[in-house]
Each structure stands twice: as C-alpha cells, then as structure tokens.
Assembly symmetry: C2
Homo-oligomer: 143 residues x 2
Amino acid sequence: MAHDHRSHEGADKLYDLIDDIRICMMTTVEEDGRLASRPMYGLEADQAGDLWFFTQVESSKTTEISREGHVNLAYSHPSKQHYISLSGRAEIVRDKGYIQDKWSEPLRTWFPEGKDDPQLALIRVHPERGEFWDSPSSTVVHL
Amino acid sequence: MAHDHRSHEGADKLYDLIDDIRICMMTTVEEDGRLASRPMYGLEADQAGDLWFFTQVESSKTTEISREGHVNLAYSHPSKQHYISLSGRAEIVRDKGYIQDKWSEPLRTWFPEGKDDPQLALIRVHPERGEFWDSPSSTVVHL
C-alpha cells in the first residue's frame, strides 16, 4: 500500500502520532495461533518509550500475554490517513506503585472500581519496531 | 475495556461497520514470532463473507501469509468509537480471473501498473471470529 524507506529519526514523530490517537487495537496470539485484537486506551509513553495500558488482570489478553509476549499495537486515524504499527513485547505489571502512579480519574470510565480494585493491572509494552504511514509514504523506525 | 457478550445475530452489523471503514490494519506473524501490521484497503466482502485485498505479490505480508495463515483485521473509527476485530485465515490468490473481477480503476492509487501488472495478487481472508465495540458494549460473532 505504500513504499517503505528506513529512518532512524522517525521515533519522535511516531510517538507524536500515537499520542494524537491514544486508542489502539492490541493484537495478541491465542493458544491455537489465532490473532485476537481489542481496543485499548494508552497512557502517555514513559521516558524509556514503553507504552502502558490498564486492564483487568483476569482477561483473555493477560492470559495470552503471560504465555506469549508478542503484541502488535495498531493505531488508525482514518480522517488524517495516519496509520501506525508497533511490534513489541508485553508484560503484565501488578506492582501497586506503578498502578498508583499511572492512575488518573478519567480511567473510571473503563474501571469503575478505581485504582484500589485488586483486579486492576497494567500492561507494559516495550516496542521493538515501529512503522507509520502518513500518506503517501511509510517510515520504519527501530526502537 | 468493554464487557463481552455473545451473539449469533451480529454478523450483518459487523459487516456494515467494516464496510463503513474499509481500511484496516492487517496483522501477520513474522518468522521470529513478532506481529507486524499495515494498513490495507478492503474490497467488498463476497457472498461467503470472505474479505479481499489487493497486494504486490512480493511483500513481507505475502511471505508471512504463505507460511502462517493466521491474520487479524483491526478496523478503527475513532470519531464514532467503533472498533472491530476479525480473526481469520488468509491465502494468496494469483488467479487472473479473480484479479480481473475484483479490480476497479480507483485502485490505481496504490497499484499504478493496473490490473495487468504481473506482480498484482489478492489476499483472501476467511474470517473465523469477529468482535465489535460500538461503545459501551462489545459483541462476539462466530462467522
């Protein structure tokens, strides 16, 4: 769909693009090899470039991530024709310090029990490769 | 992010939603297990419910599909808060009859050589499971 060229300078732009979209489709690998995705609201990237998401600890995606850490984060902004793919490794974080630190009240929309819910956990994604399409070209970024 | 409930009646709605979005992020599995995605313009679903995409025959995604047919198609419409996940199996189709039949001139935007380009091929995705989120709930559809 687009011509690829390589760049080592695109990381800032890539993070700006995903910050503008925030909700991505997170794809994980099921036990039988099927690929499942679901919308996930992303917090701000941390200084290391890792991406964080709140989740219920008991869910199909946390099971899949615990068994097989590969994920893809796909961000789409159709009206701007911006598309971003991030390939990386994910882990489940249950540390209360991180949960307190990352929590903000608007998240109650999805987690009505709030930050003290014992079922609340974080998914941390360490991106390994990013690619973005801001029509008509695409850029590959090694992260 | 949303509560799931099961439905056998949602398939029509799911196809309406994806028809409204058209460009999805197609995720495939790389040889090392990484998950890669890229934007793909979808043609109309056929009568069997299979989804079709034009591609260059020599590309990383066709290599990945030929080795490992599992794909995920993720459709996002942020302003409407519509998100759709389709899990399925993909295959590469090089049959000239299908290519002639599916081709339309607006596709030259992405395939300037047109329908007689020997590098042109189709990806056919046979969906096995669909799920959509039209906030605040989600619906799982077995296809």
